[in-house]
Amino acid sequence: MRFLNIVAIVALYAPCSFAQKPAPLPKDLPPYGPEKPIEAPSVKIARLDNGLTVWMVSEPGFPKLSYTVVIRGGYAADPSDRPGISELLSNTIDQGTKSRNARKIAEEFQGAGGDLSASAGPDEIEVSTTILASKAEPAIAVLADIVQNASFPDDQVALAKKNLADSLQQQEADPSFLASRAVAKVLFGTSPYHVISPTQESIAGSTPANLRKIYAQRFRPDQTAFIAVGDFRNEKMLELVKTNFGGWRAPAESPMADIGRLNPEAAHAVFLVERPGSVQTTIELAAAGPLRSDPDYESAVVANAIYGGTFGSRLTLNIREDKGYTYSPFAELNTYRAAGDFVTRADVRNAVTGATYNEMSYELNRMVTTTPTPEELTQAKRFLVGIEAIRLQSRSSVAEGLSDLWVKGLPPEEIGIYGKKIAATTSDDVDAAAKKYFPASRAAIVAVGEGKVVREALAPFGIPIQPAP
């Protein structure tokens, strides 16, 4: 959905609460019932002769269907003189093919009950749609056409460039965007992952010819996965895929090489993004994190759930429920194909900027210096396992999860293994992950807000303060 971000703001969330010292459970509270086994989606794997990977999850009974086509190569693969051109490519890929114009494409998806979503990520470009299962055939035909025959018409590219330039200008007002952009530059320097968005210059300089060239290089069956989840039979779906993608041929050139693992090292300094007029400071603490395929990934996820990744986490209890500094603090591990990062974030009123940084550092270091209680560990693990089961109820979430695994070079079975690894995580595992990833001194501090407010608030910590790159 184009404006999910706006719509998401709308809900007036009132999440949870916690006492610093857990209160005893009420004596009449009934216990949990017996656990029922959670079955992971069963993924049928196939590969076409042209190298296209096909992953299918047949879930009959509910009349919807999700298609995702994911192609290797995103922002990190963009030419250095065209940073972020993947964004323009994803904005224009559905704007015309050899046989369909932009309006016809949009109307055909609408007529199947879906929207086409095309997006660029660090390592991939993804096109997906969720439709009525009864429209499986017409929808796959137009999807296949876009993936194989996009034409990037001159007039549509010109319009997309203009609109993207205005959107980029608008993004400059958004504190979340400013913080994320600064974090990427601070963590990744000049390596491929430092780009999270195009620049005005790269967009202005991009031509339809540039887009067609990148499209021809990256969009090839041996670098693409087709994922279907929903109400269909696997044999029938595979036939549909063969009919619509079977004639696709990879170019003779070899596909682009993988980038080697990156180990970002952030300077422990304050990187200031001045935003005059801010009534809040957006603070992000950012450091290197594990890769999705690292053996300690799940341990770090559990540690993060205890620290700041849930409403019941220590950080939320502290700076929201106890002190009321912020509405929505969070901490998360982001993974890329060749790197990982670990970010803590809160938007806080100007007056508590310094106090919030102090509490974030304290909670990070508390994870490093003390072992979580058995109750905290159990709660975090059960939460993560249960939430995963809930997430996998939605067809589009399953498709999204599988696409993410494929991009990171992991097998589809991992979608079921994740929960088991979480459940098997021990207290020692959590301690080890916390010691490795959580020391506050590993983190760069990005602050977006009134310059004077931030400088005065963070001066007492004795950390160098410099403008963000």
Binding site: V7, L12, Y13, P26, Y32, G111, F330, I390, Q393
Partner: protein, 460 residues
């Protein structure tokens, strides 16, 4: 926009999806009323060993007292602050340890509390929902804490954001004349600061009774077992009188209303247009819903095609009936069809509006083709399945339908109903309602930040 915790974005999707299921797909669903007035809906879904609960109370922004703007939402936060039996923190610890998550939502005509978890957590969660339907821990300290949290919520979502949500706060404020429909639902800080614990207590007694609530439970459950459990935990809660519902009606609008606002955080201008809509569940409600989607839903929509693609006077178009705080079927008082359009700085308001009006005029004059209408209805059906796919959002749809109509059937019948809308009905609806005398327009234009900035136009 990153939400604090990604699971909860799910419930935001409610705003967009139409509240409807389909004839071909109707899961086993039933309903019972307890002697104390609590209505319980159970819908089965055995595709995964999980469930979702939605408890909706018949109280929203419209009913909050004058001088207490934002109170319904502040109160919602207090529902998470514990009871004498289960102090602050217990609810969340039980649900997270049970592998689930919870949240709350306040809207114009309801406040909902939602939980989803593996089925092993059903008993303790029903007990906890019943516990907070009996009484709360009316604590001044917790009120003070949540007042701070809510004020940060307003800062992050309104005051520190470009556009400051003006299409949802300022537009109804200008389009309507009576307090229930026009006031700032997030709340003026002076009103939030004036709220006392006695207000919390009174509000609870007035509106948070079993007879003012509908609870829907969806998932891998046996309906008879669920009814037994509900009986056990909820039957002992006494019903209480609720205050009579004040009139929400507005005097008819007779002239177009226009306003210009400045924005110190936005970089490009935006226009919000709001047309007053027919009353809920009236003869033209379906045509209104379809028209709203025909104009706004996706890249194939008329406004996107005309303004963004053909005339190139807009960057984005969003909107619909009862947008963005609900879907076209879930409201119980005056509402608007909203268009929110971000447009390039080089385009003037007049140019944009001329293009917008041409689109509306064409619809009012010719109506849609049957083909265009069929596509939109297919999309609306698909969106509505999207809402029924997973337990927690299906529970929301069912409980809202029962809250507003006394029956859940509309959730499953709506797709059939939508297919009955004719091109002529859309044309007639557009010709009658989408006229300038029935609308309000706010143009929001960027101005450079000044040293005393921090008070954008939309936030008070």
């Amino acid at each position: 926009m990153k939400r604090s915790f990604c699971l909860f974005v799910l419930c935001a999707v409610l705003c967009f999806a139409s509240s409807a299921g389909a004839q071909e797909w109707k899961p086993p669903t039933s309903m019972k009323k307890l002697p104390n007035g609590l209505i319980v809906v159970v819908s089965e879904d055995h595709s995964a060993p999980t469930f979702g609960i939605c408890v909706s109370y018949r109280i929203g922004f419209r009913l909050e007292p004058e001088g207490r703007t934002g109170f319904a939402h502040l109160f919602e936060h207090m529902m998470f602050e514990g009871t004498p039996n289960s102090p602050k923190g217990v609810f969340d610890r039980v649900i997270e340890s049970g592998g689930g998550a919870n949240n709350g939502d306040t809207r114009y005509d309801f406040t909902e509390y939602i939980e989803t978890a593996p089925v092993s957590a059903l008993d303790p969660l029903l007990w906890l929902e019943a516990d907070r339907m009996k009484t709360l821990d009316f604590s001044t300290k917790n009120l003070e804490n949540q007042r701070n949290v809510v004020e940060e919520e307003v800062r992050v979502n309104v005051m520190n954001q470009p556009y400051g949500f003006f299409f949802a706060i300022d537009l109804p404020g200008k389009a309507f004349d009576t307090y229930p429909n026009a006031h700032n639902f997030y709340g003026d800080f002076k009103d939030l600061n004036a709220a006392r614990i006695e207000d919390v207590q009174k509000f609870y007694e007035q509106y948070y009774s079993p007879n003012n609530a509908v609870m829907a439970i969806v998932g891998d459950v046996n309906p008879n077992e669920v009814y037994e459990k509900v009986e056990k935990y909820f039957a002992g809660i006494p019903s209480r009188p609720t205050p009579p519902r004040p009139t929400m009606e507005e005097k008819p609008q007779t002239a177009e209303r226009r306003e210009i606002e400045t924005d110190k955080l936005a970089k490009v201008p935006a226009l919000a247009i709001g047309y007053r809509m027919p009353p809920p569940r009236s003869s033209s409600s379906l045509a209104a819903a379809v028209t709203g989607e025909l104009l706004h839903n996706g890249q194939a929509s008329r406004l996107y095609q005309a303004l963004v693609k053909e005339k190139q006077v807009a960057l984005s178009v969003d909107g619909g009936v009862n947008w963005p705080l609900g879907n076209p079927f879930e409201y119980n008082g005056p509402t608007l069809m909203v268009s929110f359009i971000v447009y390039p700085p080089k385009v003037t308001e007049d140019q944009l509006l001329a293009a917008y009006d041409a689109t509306i005029r064409e619809l009012s004059a010719k109506g849609p083709s049957q083909q265009d209408l069929d596509r939109v209805v297919t999309k609306m059906r698909s969106d509505s399945y999207g809402q029924l796919e997973i337990p927690i959002t299906r529970a929301s749809a069912l409980s809202h339908a029962v809250l507003f109509t006394g029956s859940f059937e509309s959730v499953f019948n709506m797709p059939d109903e939508l297919t009955k809308v004719t091109p002529d009905q859309v044309r007639e609806f557009a010709a009658k309602y989408l006229v300038s005398t029935n609308r309000t327009i706010i143009n929001r234009v960027p101005v450079p930040a000044s040293p005393d900035a921090g008070k954008s136009g939309g936030a008070q």
